[in-house]
């Protein structure tokens, strides 16, 4: 009885191992079923989804115009203090002074990509970009100014 149990256990163990090995062998011989992506090599063809949260960017049109009014809604919505908006008073064509952004400072190193600033923006001035390769050698490169030099507010956006 003991011998039967002993050898039965061994055969059961070998059978279970072979079942697992059969599955491994199946994938070893079916190379078209491999699912791994070779990331650094497929960089040219890699396309992130449209909603992917890589970094905050401010889109500019062909006239170097953005739609950020400097209302600071994103600055208030940000939980980490990632965004700092520096504003200035600009004299308009009709002689009136109006508030415009001087620098939209974005600290990438503090950002958690929570999307709350994008949600809060009333004029869709900032969106999430797809770039995710952010590594830099020094911390100072993580501080970015999003509005391009010489850019101005698009007409008709208040």
């Amino acid at each position: 009885m003991f011998i039967k149990e002993y050898f039965g256990g061994i055969f059961k163990a070998i059978k279970s191992l072979l079942t697992g090995m059969k599955l491994t062998g199946y994938y070893f011989t079916h190379l078209n079923k491999i699912v791994t992506e070779e990331y650094p090599d497929n960089r040219a063809t890699l396309k992130m989804p449209e909603r992917f949260r890589g970094e905050v960017i401010m889109p500019h049109d062909e006239n170097n115009e953005h739609t950020c009014t400097g209302c600071q809604a994103c600055e208030l919505a940000c939980p980490n203090g990632t965004i700092k908006i520096i504003t200035k008073q600009e004299v308009q064509a009709d002689g009136k002074k109006k508030k415009r952004i001087d620098a939209f400072v974005y600290h990438l190193d503090m950002c958690t990509m929570c999307n709350l600033c994008i949600d809060a923006c009333p004029s869709d001035a900032i969106i999430m970009g797809q770039n995710f390769e952010h590594s830099q050698y020094e911390r100072k490169y993580m501080k970015k100014v999003l509005n391009k030099p010489g850019s101005r507010l698009k007409d008709g956006v208040e």
Binding site: L23, A77, T112
Partner: protein, 372 residues
């Protein structure tokens, strides 16, 4: 440890630190283990290596902002953590969540549960000496993560819930993509049984090891699959339904074994139940709004609010004391892993040190959720 002259104490016990950096702890948990030969005399968990004071941080964040930080507690069920925060604000404001938002929330939460259990399946194989199952589980998990990536914008820390609903409407191909993911999961489920469940070596490492009785599970406050494997009915989705779980047909998986094997079986069966829940919802997502009627600046009425949900690891509760302002006066999270961890010293006593790995693997600890 630092001040002891050698590793043996007065009773001749060998004191060893497992962690804070140990491959089988999945994080920075330090277990101080007193050993007599190979037998465990006593286990003492030391916490605090990844404490980020999330509860204190919450006191300075508004009710829209405090949701994102909970993704960093139990990072494998980030969606469900976000959901409990959204739910507590909705409960306090008495906001009605649109049916469409509820359905999408439940689908995403159940996908999160499947993906979390898949990672657990992958890592239990890894802990007990088998590397191959890891890749089979990660293949399906990758499909779920890609789906999250497309719809929510992030793979792990989604932050897709807002008070009153969800942040964005899902993509038009959402239903088709979920069906593809589920089909892939169901087609490949038998491979998990072939490669790991049926393996005799694996079964012998789990059967009869680390028995947690029903009484102990209640006494230690264990919840989730850990307690359900001991025969305790503690599924919050059944007991205190939220977000429309009361309309859905699914079974609460319980087992009476209480050992590691029972915990393994409960989790494997729970994945199938999650598939069942998603299949009921995916063809009947109602049309309509995705966010309920909430103000831009949320102020909670004065008082105390508590809400609980069932994460992949058990009951997560959030307790908020509000003084009527825009930020919580006090916030407390009742995390499932902290309670489940407290059972380890009790059930590991008398076992061999190798069994401690099995016990930790089947209790499925997430260390950032313990420390918060």
């Amino acid at each position: 440890m630092l001040f002891e002259p050698d590793h043996y104490n007065e009773e001749g016990e060998f004191v060893v630190n497992m962690g804070p950096q140990h491959p089988s702890t999945h994080g920075v948990l330090r277990l101080k283990v007193w050993l007599d030969g190979e037998t465990i005399k006593k286990v003492e968990p030391h916490l605090g290596y990844i404490h980020r004071s999330i509860e204190k941080m919450t006191e300075s964040l508004s009710y829209r902002q405090f949701i994102y930080v909970t993704s960093r507690m139990d990072y494998l069920s980030a969606h469900i953590n976000n959901q409990v925060c959204a739910l507590v604000v909705e409960k306090a404001l008495q906001v009605e969540v649109p049916a469409r938002a509820q359905a999408i929330r439940v689908i995403l939460a159940e996908l999160t549960r499947i993906s979390s259990h898949l990672l657990w399946f992958a890592s239990i194989g890894l802990d007990l000496g088998g590397v191959t199952p890891f890749f089979y589980a990660f293949r399906e998990r990758e499909a779920i993560n890609s789906l999250m990536d497309e719809n929510c914008g992030a793979r792990l820390t989604q932050n897709f819930m807002v008070p009153g609903g969800i942040m964005k409407d899902v993509l038009p191909n959402f239903q088709q993509r979920v069906k593809e993911v589920l089909k892939q999961f169901k087609d490949n489920y038998h491979e998990y049984d072939e490669i790991l469940t049926g393996n005799v070596i694996f079964q012998n490492r789990l059967k009869g090891v680390g028995i947690l009785t029903k009484e102990d599970a209640i006494a230690f406050g264990c919840t989730g699959p850990t307690a359900r494997a001991s025969g305790l009915n503690c599924d919050i989705r059944k007991l205190y339904p939220y977000d429309g779980y009361e309309k859905l047909q699914f079974d609460e998986i319980t087992s009476t074994g209480g050992d590691c094997w029972a915990r393994y079986e409960v989790r494997m069966a729970e994945m199938k139940q999650s598939v069942k829940i998603i299949e009921q919802l995916i063809d009947n997502i109602p049309e309509g709004e995705i966010v309920g009627n909430t103000k831009k600046v949320i102020k909670l009425p004065k008082g105390e609010f508590y809400q609980r949900v069932e994460t992949a690891r058990g009951e997560l509760g959030v307790y908020i004391v509000s003084d009527g302002g825009t930020t919580p006066y006090r916030c407390k999270y009742r995390s499932p892993n902290f309670a489940n961890l407290s059972a380890i010293p009790h059930i590991a006593r008398g076992h061999k040190i190798g069994d401690l790995i099995s016990i930790m693997a089947t209790i499925d600890l997430i260390i950032p959720d313990i420390d918060r």
